[in-house]
C-alpha cells in the first residue's frame, strides 16, 4: 500500500457535485407540511418601533402566521456574548431597530411567493433616531447611543502591555506612526444561508437543519437563548455547504429565529436567504481603525509597537465577537521579533450590520497597518523595504519562538521563505525596471508582505476580552478539541465520521487519505460521512470549519481515531495468530508476522470476528469496531494572569511579492505578478492546498481592489446587490505563482498546519504596499481600501494639486 498522505489525489466529493447530486440545504427535502418563511426587515438604520400592524398580512390566503419581536421574545433570552457590556441581542428587533436589514417580522406562508406578498402588507411605524456609522464618531461625547442600557457605544475595551514598551520608545532613533482604516467587506458564498426548523411540542425539542459550520460552542449559546436544555436543540448540518469562508457561522441568530417561528406557527418552517438579505443582514467582516506607532532603530530594527485598534462590530456585539480583536493576539507582532508591545483594543457599535467570522478573521485587519508601517519605516529612513523586513524577521534558530503576547510559533524558516519570494519575483531586477519606467512617465510599484498565518484557534483566546479579574470569576477555557470516529462494519467496510462541517475544502478526501494510509486500505473503500448531527456525532465546542483547523486538528483526530482502530485490530490479530503485537506489521490490508511473512491475518477478518464472533476476542475486549478520538493540543492553554495567550495552535508563514502598474490617466491598477510563498508545514494534499490558496488569494484581492459594504453617512447600505458589491471574476485574477516550503509542525502528528486564509490576510496590504511604492514619487500613501480606480485617481490628482503634500484619510 503506497503512502497517500501528501499526495495530490483527486477528490471524492467531485462526482456528486459535477452531476447535480450535491445535497445542499435547499436540496435535502423537508418534513411534510413545511411552510416557507420571508423576513420583513428594517429600512431604517436607527429607530424606535412605534407599532407593527400585521392584520392585513394575516388575512391573506396561504398565510399561516405573521410573527413579530414581541411574540418571539417570550421564548427567548438575549444571546450571551463574551464581554461584560450588557448588550441585549435578539435575532429580531424588539422595540428598536439598529441597522438597515434587521429582522422586524417573519411571515410564514404556503410558498415564498405568498410570504413575500404578505410582507408588503405589514405596516411598521418607526420613530427615527439619529444614526452613527463612523467608527471614531461613535466614541464622541454627543454620539447617538445604540444601546441605552450600555450607556455608550463601547462594547469592549482592554489594554495590554508586554515587555518594556515605554523604554523602547524612549530609546528609539525614530518613531514612525500612522492611522489606517480597514473597511467593512464580506465573503458572499454563492450559496446563501438556509434553514429548516421544526419544533415538536411532544418532545419540547427543536430540530434545525442549517448550513451552519460551527464553532459548535454556538450550539450552547443557541440553547441558552432558547431557554432549553442543550440536548433539546438538535442541529443537523448537510454534507454539502455551498461555500462559507466563515460567514455561515452567522446563521445562528436565524436558526434561533426560525426555531421560535416554527414553534409559534406550529409547523416546520423553511427559509432560504436571498442575496439582498445576505448583503444587508447576514454578517460581515469587521472594519477597524488602527493607530500604529513603531519604535525604530536607525537600521530599521523595530524594538517596540503601540497599536490602538478600534473594531466596529456593527449594531450588536454577538458571538464570536469581539474575537476579531483577539484571534491574532498571539501573533500581533506578525513575523517579526518585536519584544515590546502595547495594545489598546476597543470594540464599538454603530448602526451597521453586525459582524462575525470571515476568511482571515482579524488577520487582514492586523496586517494592513503592520505591513504598511514596515514599508513606511523603510521610506522614512531611506532604507529598502526588503532590508527592513529582513532585519526584523524571526530567525530560524529562534523557533519555537515565544511572542511578546504569549504566542508560541511552532516552526518556520521565515528568511528562507522571504528570500524565495524576492528571488521568484526578481525583486532587484524589478527595481531597475521601475526606475526606467518612471523616466517614461509610467507608474510601477512592488509591494512586500510577510505574515504569520495562525490556525486552529485556542478556545481560550476569546476570554482575553475580559480582565484577569473578570476571568477569574468563571471557569477557565482552553483547548481546541476536534473529534472523529472510525468504524468497521461486520463485512470489514470502513466508515469515517467527521465533525468538521466542510464547505468545499475536501475534508472527505483528505480524511479518506489518512485512514487509508493508517489502515492500509485503498481510499476508495473508505466512506467518509460529513453530515454533522449534534445528537449523534462526536463533537465538542471547538468543532466545525473555521480558523483553518482541519489540517491541524480535524486531520489529527481522524489520524488518531484510525490508529485506535488499528491498535484494536492488531490486538485481535496477535491473539488469533498467537504472536506478540511487536511481531506484526500491517500492509496491504493484512497483519503479517515479520519473521514469517507466510503467516498473516486479514484486517477484514479481524474486524469480522469483532462482530460475528465476539467470544473469540482477547479477554475483556469489547465487541465491534467503533473508535472515537477527541483531539486537542496542550499548547492551547487559557490566558494567564498577565494576559499571555497562545491564541492558535499552529502558525504558518506567507511571504508575498506583488508588482503593479498604475494607469496615470484612469487610476486603474494592473497587477503584473503575484508571488506567494507558503509554509504550512507538511502538506496533506497539494492539489487541495493550492486550490485553497488560490481561493483565499482571490478573496484577498477582492478586498484590496473591489469589495466593500458601503454605507452612507445616514446609515443606508449602498451595496445591496451583486451589481454594487463587486467580487472578482476570472479576468480580474492576475498571474499568480505559488511556491511552498515545508517546515513540519512539531505540534501535530502529521506535521501539518492550517492554510487557506493566509493570502486573504496578506493580499490587501501587499497590494496596498505595491500601490504606495508606485505612488511614492507623488508622496501618496495608501491608508485605506479598496483601491478602486476612483480612489487612486482622486489621490493622484489631489497630490498633484496639493503640490506633493501627503494625502491621508
Amino acid at each position: 500500500m503506497d503512502k497517500v498522505i501528501g499526495k495530490a489525489v483527486t477528490r471524492v466529493e467531485d462526482m456528486r457535485l459535477l452531476t447535480g447530486q450535491g445535497k445542499y440545504i435547499d436540496d435535502i427535502g423537508t418534513p411534510s407540511q413545511t411552510f416557507q418563511a420571508a423576513i420583513l426587515r428594517s429600512s431604517s438604520p436607527h429607530a424606535k418601533i412605534v407599532s407593527i400592524d400585521t392584520a392585513e398580512a394575516e388575512k391573506m390566503a396561504g398565510v399561516k402566521a405573521v410573527i413579530t419581536g414581541e411574540q418571539v421574545k417570550e421564548y427567548l433570552e438575549p444571546f450571551s456574548v463574551g464581554v461584560s457590556a450588557p448588550v441585549q441581542y435578539y435575532p429580531i428587533a424588539i422595540d428598536k431597530v439598529r441597522y438597515v436589514g434587521e429582522p422586524v417580522a417573519v411571515v410564514i406562508a404556503k410558498s415564498r411567493y405568498i410570504a413575500e406578498d404578505a410582507m408588503e402588507l405589514i405596516k411598521v411605524k418607526y420613530e427615527t433616531l439619529p444614526p452613527v456609522v463612523d467608527i471614531e464618531g461613535s466614541l464622541e461625547k454627543d454620539a447617538p447611543v445604540l444601546h441605552e442600557n450600555v450607556g455608550s457605544n463601547i462594547a469592549n475595551h482592554r489594554t495590554f502591555n508586554y515587555g518594556e514598551v515605554d523604554q523602547a520608545f524612549e530609546e528609539a532613533d525614530a518613531i514612525i506612526k500612522h492611522k489606517y482604516l480597514f473597511p467593512k467587506y464580506t465573503a458572499t458564498p454563492v450559496e446563501t444561508y438556509g434553514i429548516i426548523a421544526h419544533y415538536e411540542s411532544s418532545e419540547k425539542q427543536y430540530t434545525v437543519h442549517a448550513n451552519f459550520h460551527g464553532p459548535f460552542v454556538i450550539q450552547a449559546i443557541m440553547a441558552q437563548a432558547l431557554k432549553i436544555p442543550s440536548n433539546k436543540l438538535r442541529i443537523i448540518v448537510p454534507k454539502d455547504i455551498g461555500g462559507s469562508y466563515g460567514i455561515k457561522a452567522g446563521t445562528f441568530p436565524y436558526m434561533v429565529l426560525l426555531s421560535v417561528a416554527s414553534r409559534i406557527a406550529g409547523c416546520p418552517v423553511k427559509w432560504i436567504e436571498d442575496r439582498q438579505e445576505h448583503l444587508s443582514a447576514s454578517s460581515s467582516g469587521t472594519d477597524r481603525v488602527t493607530y500604529i506607532e513603531a519604535a525604530v532603530k536607525k537600521d530599521g530594527k523595530v524594538t517596540g509597537l503601540r497599536m490602538k485598534m478600534i473594531d466596529n462590530v456593527g449594531a450588536y456585539i454577538r458571538a464570536p465577537e469581539p474575537a476579531c480583536l483577539y484571534r491574532t493576539h498571539a501573533n500581533s507582532t506578525g513575523a517579526y521579533d518585536i519584544p515590546n508591545l502595547h495594545i489598546d483594543a476597543y470594540a464599538i457599535m454603530t448602526n451597521k450590520l453586525p459582524t462575525g467570522l470571515i476568511r482571515g478573521y482579524g488577520g487582514q485587519e492586523l496586517y494592513f497597518p503592520l505591513e504598511r508601517i514596515m514599508q513606511k519605516i523603510a521610506f522614512e529612513l531611506n532604507l529598502d523595504p526588503a532590508d527592513v523586513i529582513r532585519r526584523n524577521l524571526i530567525q530560524k534558530d529562534q523557533f519555537p519562538y515565544k511572542t511578546a503576547s504569549g504566542g508560541l510559533y511552532d516552526s518556520g524558516d521565515y528568511i528562507k521563505g522571504f528570500e524565495l519570494a524576492l528571488e521568484t519575483g526578481k525583486y532587484e531586477e524589478f527595481r531597475k525596471k521601475q526606475e526606467e519606467a518612471r523616466k517614461d512617465g509610467k507608474i510601477f510599484g512592488v509591494g512586500l508582505a510577510c505574515i504569520v498565518e495562525p490556525s486552529g484557534s485556542n478556545m481560550g483566546y476569546i476570554t482575553v476580552a475580559l480582565t484577569p479579574e473578570e476571568r477569574a470569576k468563571s471557569l477557565p477555557k482552553s483547548g481546541c478539541s476536534e473529534a472523529a470516529t472510525v468504524s468497521m462494519d461486520p463485512m470489514g467496510s470502513v466508515n469515517v465520521r467527521i465533525s468538521t462541517t466542510p464547505s468545499g475544502q475536501g475534508h472527505e478526501t483528505v480524511a479518506a487519505q489518512i485512514v487509508s494510509e493508517v489502515l492500509s486500505i485503498p481510499s476508495d473503500k473508505i466512506k467518509v460521512v460529513a453530515e454533522l448531527d449534534t445528537s449523534t456525532s462526536a463533537w465538542s465546542i471547538a468543532s466545525g470549519s473555521y480558523s483553518s483547523r482541519f489540517a491541524s486538528l480535524g486531520s489529527s483526530a481522524v489520524f488518531y481515531a484510525a490508529n485506535k482502530v488499528k491498535e484494536k485490530l492488531m490486538k485481535i490479530a496477535s491473539h488469533q495468530l498467537n504472536v506478540d503485537e511487536s511481531e506484526l506489521e500491517l500492509r496491504n490490508g493484512a497483519f503479517y508476522v515479520k519473521s514469517d511473512p507466510a503467516k498473516k491475518y486479514a484486517l477484514k477478518r479481524a474486524a469480522g470476528s469483532a462482530h460475528w464472533n465476539p467470544l473469540s476476542l482477547p479477554e475483556g475486549m469489547e465487541p465491534g469496531i467503533y473508535e472515537t478520538y477527541y483531539y486537542s493540543i496542550k499548547a492551547a492553554e487559557p490566558p494567564d494572569e498577565n494576559d499571555l495567550i497562545n491564541s492558535s495552535v499552529t502558525y504558518g508563514f506567507v511571504a508575498d511579492l506583488v508588482t503593479v502598474e498604475i494607469d496615470p490617466e484612469t487610476g486603474e491598477i494592473n497587477i503584473l505578478d503575484y508571488i506567494t510563498i507558503h509554509d504550512a508545514g507538511k502538506l496533506l494534499n497539494p492539489l487541495i492546498v493550492d486550490g485553497q490558496i488560490f481561493g483565499g488569494l482571490a478573496h484577498g484581492l477582492g478586498g484590496a481592489l473591489f469589495e466593500e459594504l458601503v454605507y452612507d453617512n445616514k446609515g443606508q447600505l449602498l451595496t445591496g446587490s451583486f451589481m454594487d458589491y463587486l467580487c472578482p471574476t476570472a479576468p480580474e485574477i492576475p498571474n499568480v505563482t505559488i511556491k511552498h516550503i515545508e517546515t513540519p509542525s512539531p505540534m501535530t502528528p502529521l506535521g501539518a498546519k492550517g492554510l487557506g486564509e493566509g493570502n486573504t490576510m496578506s493580499a490587501p496590504v501587499a497590494v496596498a504596499n505595491a500601490v504606495s511604492d508606485a505612488l511614492s514619487p507623488y508622496n501618496v500613501a495608501i491608508d485605506t481600501l479598496p483601491l478602486s480606480p476612483n480612489r487612486i485617481w482622486t489621490l493622484l490628482n489631489e497630490a498633484k494639486e496639493n503640490n506633493h503634500k501627503e494625502v491621508t484619510i
Binding site: L18, T19, G243
Partner: protein, 163 residues
C-alpha cells in the same frame, strides 16, 4: 393567482405542469421538477449559478419565467453526463480541481459546454471572458480555467486523431 400550463422537455423528459405566471424558471426546475442540480445564488442575474441550456443557448434561469419556457428543450447539469459517463469537461474539472464547494459549478458547466460547442478553439482570454459571467468564491478560478483549457486541448487531440 391563475395558473398557466407549461410543457417543457428537460434532459429528454417531458414535463407538463400548471404554474403561476410569475414563477421563475429556476424555481420551476428545482421545486416543481425536483432537479436540484441547478443552483440559485442571487436571483438577479449576476452570479451565473442558475445557468441552464434552453433551446441550444446557455441562459440564466433566474431571469426567465417558467411560462416563457413553454415548448422549449432544456438541459440542466443532470443531463450532461450520458449514462453515467462524465463529459470531458466534467472529467477535467476533477483533474484540475475546478471545484471546491461545487455550488457555482453547475452553472459554469452549462455555460462552458455551450461556449465550447460554438467556439471549439478559444483563447485563454476568451475563456476568462466567458467565465466573467460566473462568480466562484472558492477556487480563485485557476482550476476552472485550467479545466476548460485542458478540455480544449483534449478536443483538439481528438479532432487530429480523427482526421
Amino acid at each position: 393567482m391563475s395558473l398557466t400550463e407549461v410543457n417543457v422537455t428537460i434532459n429528454g423528459k417531458s414535463y407538463s405542469e400548471w404554474v403561476e405566471p410569475r414563477m421563475l424558471l429556476s424555481d420551476f426546475i428545482r421545486e416543481t421538477c425536483g432537479l436540484t442540480g441547478t443552483h440559485v445564488g442571487c436571483e438577479h442575474g449576476v452570479c451565473g449559478a442558475c445557468t441552464i441550456n434552453m433551446d441550444g443557448l446557455a441562459v440564466r434561469s433566474c431571469l426567465i419565467f417558467a411560462v416563457q419556457a413553454d415548448n422549449c428543450e432544456i438541459t440542466t447539469v443532470e443531463g450532461l453526463a450520458c449514462s453515467g459517463e462524465l463529459t470531458a469537461l466534467q472529467k477535467n474539472f476533477i483533474e484540475c480541481h475546478g471545484l471546491q464547494c461545487g455550488f457555482c459549478t453547475a452553472g459554469i458547466l452549462m455555460s462552458i459546454t455551450d461556449f465550447l460547442e460554438k467556439n471549439p478553439q478559444p483563447s485563454v482570454k476568451e475563456i476568462k471572458e466567458t467565465l466573467s459571467g460566473h462568480l466562484c468564491r472558492c477556487t480563485g478560478y485557476e482550476g476552472i480555467v485550467k479545466a476548460v483549457e485542458k478540455t480544449v486541448q483534449d478536443n483538439n487531440k481528438e479532432v487530429l486523431q480523427r482526421s
